[in-house]
Amino acid sequence: MEQTVEFAPATGVLSLIWLLVAIPLASAAVLLLLGRRADKWGHWLGVLSVAASFVLGLVFFANLAGLESGSRSAELSLWEFIAVGKLQVDFGLLFDPLSGVFVLLITGVGSLIHLYAVGYMEHDPGRRRFFGYFNLFVAAMLLLVLGNNYVMLYFGWEGVGLASYLLISFWYTRPSAATAGKKAFLMNRVGDAGLAIGIFIMFATLGTTDYGAVFNGLSGLSATTVLVLGLLLLIGACGKSGQFPLQAWLPDAMEGPTPVSALIHAATMVTAGVYLIARSNPVYTANETLQLVTVAVGAITLLMGCIIGAAKDDIKRVLAWSTVSQIGYMFLGVGLGGGAYALAIIHLLAHGFFKANMFLGAGSVMHGMHDQVDIRRFGALSKHMKITWLTFATGWLAIIGIPPLSGYFSKEPIIAAAFEREVAWEAWVFGLAALLGAGLTAFYMTRLFVLTFHGPARWTEDNQHPHESPLIMTIPLILLAIGSVAAGWLMSTSVADWLTPVFGAEQAEPHGVLSHTMITILSLVVTVIGAGLAWSLFRRGTALEPQPAGVVVTAARRNLYTDAFNEAVFERPGIYLTRALVFLDNKGVDGVVNGIAAAVGGGSGRLRRLQTGFVRSYALSMLTGAMLVVGAFIAIQLGWLV
C-alpha cells in the first residue's frame, strides 16, 4: 500500500503559528535577563505568556478544524536553517491534528500548573528565575511538537532536556537534587545520542529530515535500515520517557519542586517519547519487529512501574513510578499500531490531566504537612484538606479506570487492543501483562490514596496543623479534577476521528483471542480486586517504618535492582575508564619510561636524573604514536591490514 504524506502550506491565521513558541520564549528572556528588577511581577508575566499561547492555540485549533479533512495541516517554513550538500534543513513548523492536541495539552495544563506555582513558590526567593526556566521549558516543548522535521524536533528535545536539568537542580542546596539532576542528564544523553544517530542515518539514506519526505522515502529503504532507524528513535524515546531500560532517572527527578514534577515529569516532557513514535508512525508501521520491540518495552515498563510503585513510601515517587507505568501503556499502544496509535494519544491526554491533578494534589498535601513526603506518616487528611482530598480522589479513580472517569475510556481500549494482536501468543502475553498492570495499578494507587487521606492520623511532627492550600493552588486542582472526570468520554471518539489524517483510517478490527465485552468485564474485575485488597489492607493505617519483607517487596523497594545494575554495568566501568585514562596521561607514560630506563641500566638511570620536566614522557608518547601511525601505513601497504 503506497501512501504519500503531504502537508498543506500554512495560510491565513495559521501562518502565525510561530507565535506559539515565540511568546513563552520572549517571556523567558525577559525574566532571565531583567534580573531582580522583574521580581515583583515576573511570575505573572510567566503565567500570562503561557495562557496567551493557550488562547492562540485554541484559535489555531479552531482554524485547523475549519479546513477540509484531507488537507488539515499547516506547514510553515520560517527560514533556511542549514544546508549541507544535498541536505537542506529549514527552520519550519507544522501544525496538524497531532501537534494541535499536544499544543493544547502543553499550554492548557501548563497554564494551570504555572498558576499553581505562583502560590506554591510564593516564599521562594528564586521564584522569578524559576518562572524563567519554566517558560523556557514550555517554549522548547512547543518547538518539539511543532517542528516540521526531525532536526527541529531535536532542537526542542535538547531544549526541554536542558530546562528540565536546570529545574530539577533548582533546589541546589539539597545534594540529592544535584545528583538527581546529573542522573537525569546522563540517562537522557544516552537517549539523545540514539536520536541524533537516527537523524544522521536519515541523511545518509534519505538525504532529508522533513517528516513528509522521510515517510515517503521509507519504501525505498531496506528492512534492516528501517529497523535500525526505528530502534534508534526508540532509544531516544525511552530516554526521554523513562522507559525500560532508561527508566531510573524519572523517579529521582522528583527532587525538583512539585510543579516541575507535574508539568515536566507527568504531563508533558516525559510524553515526548510517545510523540516521537506516534509522529514516526510510518516507520514503525513499516516493520513488524520494531512494533514488537516497542510493545515489549511498553509491557515490561508498565509492569515494572506498578511493582516498584507498590513498594514505595514517598508520595511523589509512587506517582513517578506510576507515570513510568502509564507511559508504558502508551508505548504499548503506539507499538500495537493501527487504531491503537490514537488510543495511546488519548491515554496520553487523559493522563496529562489526572496525573498533573494528583501531582499538584501531592504538592498541596506537602504544603500542609511541612514538606513531609512519607505516606506512612500521613492519614486522616480527608477531614482537613477537603478540596485536595476530593480532587485527588477523581485522579485516583481516573487512573485505576473506574467508569465513567477518564482512565476507563483511555486505558481499557489499550488493553483490548493488546488482546487483538494477530499472533496468538503475543496477544496473550501482552494482553495479560496489560490486564495484570491494571490490577496492580488499582492496588498501589488505592494504597497511596488510603494511607494519605484515610485511616488514623500518623503524623510524627509536633504542632502539625494540616490546612487546605490557598485558592490560587486549589483552583487549578479543581479545574484539573474536572478534566480527570470528563476528558475520557469527551475524547474517546472525537480525538480518534480528529487524528485520522495523521494515523490513517482505522482498519477493520481483527477479532482477538477474547471478546471485547469479556475484556471490559475482566479489567473491571481486576481493578476492583486490586483496589479492594489495598483498601482492606491499609484502611487501618500502617507502621511508621518500612517493615522487613519478602524477596519481591525488597526487590521492588530497591527498584528491582535496576540501579545496582546500572551502577555495575555503566557507572563503575565509566569511572574506571576515566581514572585509567587520567592515570595513563599523568603517570603511565612516565612509568614506561622508568621501566625502560631501569632495564637499560644505570647509565640511562643517570641520564634520567638529568632530565627534570615531563617533556620526555610527552615526547615518548608522540614517538609511540608516530611508530604506530607509520607502522600502520606500512602494514597497510604490505597488505597486513585491511
Partner: protein
Amino acid sequence: MEQLELPSIDYAALLPMLILFGAACVGVILEIVVPRKVRNGIQLGLSLLAVVAALVAVVVERGTRTITIGGAVAVDGPTLFLQGSILVLGGVSLLLIGERTVEKGGAFVSQAAITVGSKKDMEQASGQPGSTEVYPLTTFALGGMLLFVAANDLLTMFVALEVFSLPLYLLCALARRRRLLSQEAALKYFLLGSYASAFFLFGVAFIYGFAGGIQLDKVHAAVANPTQSQVLLYAGFGLLAIGLLFKAALAPFHVWTPDVYQGAPTPVTAFMAACTKVAAFGALLRVLYVAFEGVRWDFQPVLGTIAVLTMFVGAVLAVTQTDLKRLLAYSSIANAGYLMVGVLALNDEGLSSTMFYLVAYGFSVLAAFAILSLVRDADGEATHLSRWAGIGRKSPLLAATFTFVLLAFAGIPLTSGFTSKFAVFGAAVEGGQTWLVIFGVITSMLLAFPYLRVVVLMWLSEPGESTPAVSIPGFLTSAVLGIGVLVTLGLGVAPSPLIDLTRQAADFVR
C-alpha cells in the same frame, strides 16, 4: 650553463602576506625608535591596520585561482577563505592581546629575560607596562599562518610552519603572572614542536624520494602513477602527517596542549586555540585533498582511528579537569577530533564544513578565553573550578555569557556549536564515514557533561569565601566578548550565508 629562469611572481596574490610581514618588520623597528610611553598604542594600531589591510587585500583577490612563485604558493578559494578567517580571528585576538586595563600593564611581562623571583622581577611585577614586542611577534605569526595555508610545496609549508611557530613559542613565555609556569610551557612547546617539525621534514625527504618533487601536484601525479617503492610514500606520508597532527593537537600528538594552554598568557592561548587551529587544519586539508587524495582508502582508516581516539581522549579527560584552562584545552582537543571527522569526508562538503567549523569554533573559543581573563584575584586569573562556584550570583552577566559559550561548545541547538557539528557530521555521512559520526555523536554527548557541570557550578552553587571578584572588562575585551557571542549566536540561528561562502570557496587549485 643552463639559463636560470626566474619564476613569475603574482604580487597581488601574495599581497596579504607581504603586508603582514612588512608591518611586522616595521614593528620591530618601531620598538627601537618610539618612546616607551606611546609604543603600546602605536604598535597595536599598526598591527590592527596591517590585519585590516591584509583582509582588504584578501577580499579584493576573491575569485583568484593561481599558482605562483614557481609553484610554491597556491592562491585559490580555500586559501583565501582560510586567510580571511585567520585575519579576522587574528584581529579579534589582537584586541585581547592589546587589553591593558583589566590587569595593570597588561597580561604580558615587561622584560621576560629578568630572572623570576629576583628583586628586579618584583619591581616589574608591580605594574610596569608589558612588553610591546608581542605585536610584531603576533603579526609575524599571522603572516606565517597565511603562508602555511597557501603553501603549495612541502618545503614552503615547512618554512611557513616555523615562521608561525617560533613567535608562538616566544609569546607563550611572556606571561606576567606565574612566570615559571609560562616559561615551562614555552620550553615544552618549543621542544615538542621542534620534535614534530623533525618528523615533518623527514617525511618531506621520503616524499621527495618517492615523487621526485615536493610540489603537491607532482606528489599527486606520482601517487597516481608510482615509479618508486610505495613504502617511501607511506612512510613519508605518515611522518608528514604527524607534523601536521601535532599542530592540530590530535591524539596521541596532543600531549603538549593542556600544559601549554594553561601556562601561556590567556590572550596567547586564545590566539593559538583560534588561529593555529585554522592554520593547521588548512594545511592538513590541502595536503590530504590535493596531494594524497589518490590513497584516501589507505589513510582514511588510520586517520579515522586517530580522530576517534582524539574525540575520546578530549571528552573523557575533560570530565575530570579542575582547572578551566585545562578543561578548555581538552575541549579544544576533542574539537580537533570533530574537525578531523569533517576533513576525512574527503569531498567538497567536507572541505566547506571543516572551514565553517573552524570559523565558528574560533569565535566561541576567543569569547571563552576572554571571559577567563576577567575572573581574577590578587594572584591573577582564578582558573580553578572551585573558585567559580556561585559566580552567577555576583556577576550574572558574565556568568550568562559564559553559559552561552559553554552551551555552544556542548553543541546545544541555536548556537554555532550545533550547526558546525551538524555540518561536519553531515559531510562525513555523505562521504561514507558514518562510523566516525557515530563516535562523534557519542563523544559530544559525553563532552556536554563537563560544560554543564560548570554551568551548574556557576549558577546553582553557593558562592564561597574564595569566589573572586570579576574585573570590569576594558573596551577591547568587551569588544572581543561581544563579537564572539554575536557570531556564535548568528552562526547558530542563520548559518546559511557563511556556509554558502565556504561552499563557493571549496575548490582547490592543483
